[in-house]
């Protein structure tokens, strides 16, 4: 029964989701919202599993006898967890904790947001290093990529049109860049999207029919 019940639920919900796409009449049209709400409720309860696991792992690390930096990282995580939990739950005006000016909001704006922004900003540097590697002309495909990237990057900058201003209309760098992005790029993207759509359909069918059950824990 450990496999049969989840498989039956997957079959029932999957079939309803397909039916509602084609039958808007009640109750089908509204059932997906009901399932979505149920998923939200289950996920909301399950967040405690994750939060408590994080706390457990962090406390274990901080109390570990191994003298590594992990101890301190674990301590920082556990202390941050308790700090934000206590301030959010008890010291920020109850359900008004998100109101600008509350203590929780202060921590959110002055600690969480800058940390998130810092991580996101790192992306710029990683894009540069990855581009450098990708554009090395080691093969025919990489050379093609390099040439396309050259035109697109230069065409997207004002200097591109300044350099090719003498060219007839339609051959300037910004127009070449637009052509690359509109035709070859979109064609490649669409081919991948069609493959993905069929892959999703096939994978979903396997899950609905119970042919694919490895996500339940098994071969």
């Amino acid at each position: 029964m450990r496999r049969e019940i989840p498989t039956a639920i997957a079959f029932f919900v999957g079939i309803i989701c397909i039916i509602q796409f084609f039958i808007p009449h009640r109750p089908f049209g509204t059932l997906v919202d009901v399932f979505s709400d149920w998923f939200g409720i289950v996920a909301a309860f399950a967040i405690w599993l994750g939060a408590l696991n994080l706390l457990k792992v962090s406390l274990e690390r901080s109390l570990s006898k191994k003298k590594t930096h992990d101890r301190w990282y674990g301590l920082v995580v556990a202390a941050s967890f308790f700090l934000i939990f206590i301030i959010g739950m008890f010291m920020s005006g109850g359900d008004q904790f998100q109101v600008p000016g509350s203590r929780f909001d202060y921590l959110y704006v002055n600690i969480y947001t800058p940390l998130s922004s810092t991580m996101f900003a790192l992306l710029a540097f990683f894009v540069a290093s990855a581009s450098y590697r990708a554009f090395r002309a080691r093969s025919w495909e990489a050379t093609l990529l390099l040439i396309a990237a050259f035109f697109v990057m230069l065409g997207r900058a004002p200097v591109g049109d300044q350099l090719t201003g003498f060219m007839p209309e339609g051959y300037r760098l910004s127009e070449v860049a637009n052509w690359i992005m509109t035709y070859p790029q979109v064609a490649g993207q669409r081919a991948i999207m069609i493959g993905i759509a069929l892959g999703v359909a096939s994978a979903s069918l396997r899950l609905i029919l119970g042919l694919e059950r490895s996500y339940l824990g098994g071969e």
Partner: protein, 411 residues
């Protein structure tokens, strides 16, 4: 119809007279015409669509229509009740859907054209003119979404093909599946971790269990965990969702059991970091830099964190295998990882790795779907090209009608 105008002008130089400041109000706009109300098509009920022909003064004539109000009343044998405003539409629009009706109740509608006119106080005043009321309309739910008929036909064909090939494969027919380098490299990557005595990190994406990519990623995790158990390699699965954590634990536990090493499994192999996108990326980056794993798997749905994770792994020289169906993230993985499963390959992984005939059959069905789409694209190219050649191409609006893609548009 509204109208007002009383105007008196004082004679110039007549200081004894109190100047009566009045402004000539411009006439209201002409009303909207041909107003019709009907049940909104292809819905579950509870809505009525109101259409009208724009007022002659909407964008033309006096050009003084600012917007339209849509008024509704319940019809009864003794006449219509009071009209209440149920919505508005800006000038230029000729359609409004009232999404708050009760099925089976008779409604009638009026469209009111509004115009803003100056007033003596300086604040503009709205003047309005009403259309003739519509006939009685009822809202009802439909049992089939007619504009999705093309999608239904395609679903039946593709799913039918998949089921047919599954049946064929079950009956023992040999099916050819092309090699997928990224999946063939799994054993090698795990073996490398064993040789180097370092960890394997498996990242199943940042989305929850309602994302099919996450399910595909977890399926591959089962295979990786089994090989890791056989090779006695150390596996860690940091996750960003609680439900994914629970599922991954079950899968890894089962894999270790199947590999005959249940004692090597413990729950701490799969642990939760955070739901937050960049918090998760920061957590994994920290783990990677400290533990220096020899192998990293990224299998599932990723967003902007994809390159942050993959470049960090690349910087420590780890062998990296990625797979995602997020088209925008694929170039990042291709640039930073040794192997990348592109889109559909991620979903094909379970069939490819298990070699189970039923699952392999579904891949063959997918190929038939691809062939149909390819054929449709070719037919579309031919018809669009010939359509464009055989007409006046200077009429761009008409050219759009020759786009066969519109026939397949799912609403």
């Amino acid at each position: 119809m509204l109208a007002s105008a009383a105007i008196a002008q004082t004679a110039p130089g007549d200081s004894s007279a109190i100047p009566a400041l009045t402004i000539a109000q411009p006439p209201p706009p002409n009303p909207a015409t041909n107003v019709k109300a009907e049940d909104a098509p292809n819905d579950g009920g509870g809505s009525i669509r109101v259409t009208w022909a724009a007022s002659p003064d909407d964008g033309a004539g006096r050009k003084n229509v600012a917007s339209y109000n849509i008024l509704r009343a319940v019809s009864s044998p003794t006449g219509a009740g009071a009209f209440d405003t149920v919505g508005s539409a800006t000038a230029g629009n000729t359609e409004f859907t009232d999404g708050h009706t009760e099925d089976g109740i008779p409604y009638i509608y009026i469209v009111e054209a509004l115009s803003s006119v100056p007033s003596p106080g300086g604040t503009p005043v709205m003047v309005s003119v009403r259309s003739e009321p519509t006939g009685v309309a009822y809202s009802n739910g439909q049992w089939f979404h007619m504009r999705r008929l093309n999608a239904l036909i395609m679903v039946i064909i593709v799913c039918g093909a998949i089921l047919y090939f599954i049946q064929q494969a079950s009956s023992g027919k040999e099916l050819f599946i092309r090699k997928i380098a990224g999946l063939d490299a799994v054993d090698e990557a795990v073996g490398r971790a064993t040789e180097m005595g370092r960890k394997i990190f498996y990242i199943p994406g940042t989305q929850d269990m309602d994302e099919v990519q996450t399910l595909a990623g977890i399926t591959i995790l089962g295979r990786v965990a089994k090989v890791a158990a056989e090779y006695e390699a150390s596996l860690e699965v940091p996750v960003s969702r609680s439900l994914v954590m629970v599922t991954c634990r079950e899968v890894v536990k089962e894999a270790y059991l199947n590999a005959g090493r249940p004692e090597a499994y413990n729950d701490s192999m799969v642990y939760y970091l955070t739901d937050d996108q960049f918090g998760y990326a920061a957590g994994i980056d920290g783990l990677v830099m400290r533990d220096k794993p020899s192998t990293l798997f990224f299998m599932g749905a990723f967003y902007a964190e994809s390159l942050i994770l993959a470049e960090t792994g690349n910087s420590i020289g780890a062998i990296q295998i990625a797979g995602t169906a997020m088209p925008a993230q694929l170039p990042f993985f291709v640039a930073a990882c040794d192997y990348t499963l592109i889109g559909e390959e991620l979903f094909a992984a379970s069939a490819y790795l298990s070699k189970e005939p039923k699952l392999l059959g579904s891949l063959k069905g997918q190929d038939l779907g691809k062939a149909i789409i390819l054929l449709a694209i070719l037919v579309g190219i031919v018809m669009t090209s010939f359509g464009a050649i055989s007409m006046d191409t200077s009429d761009l609006d008409k050219l759009g009608n020759y786009n066969i893609g519109q026939w397949f548009e799912v609403q």
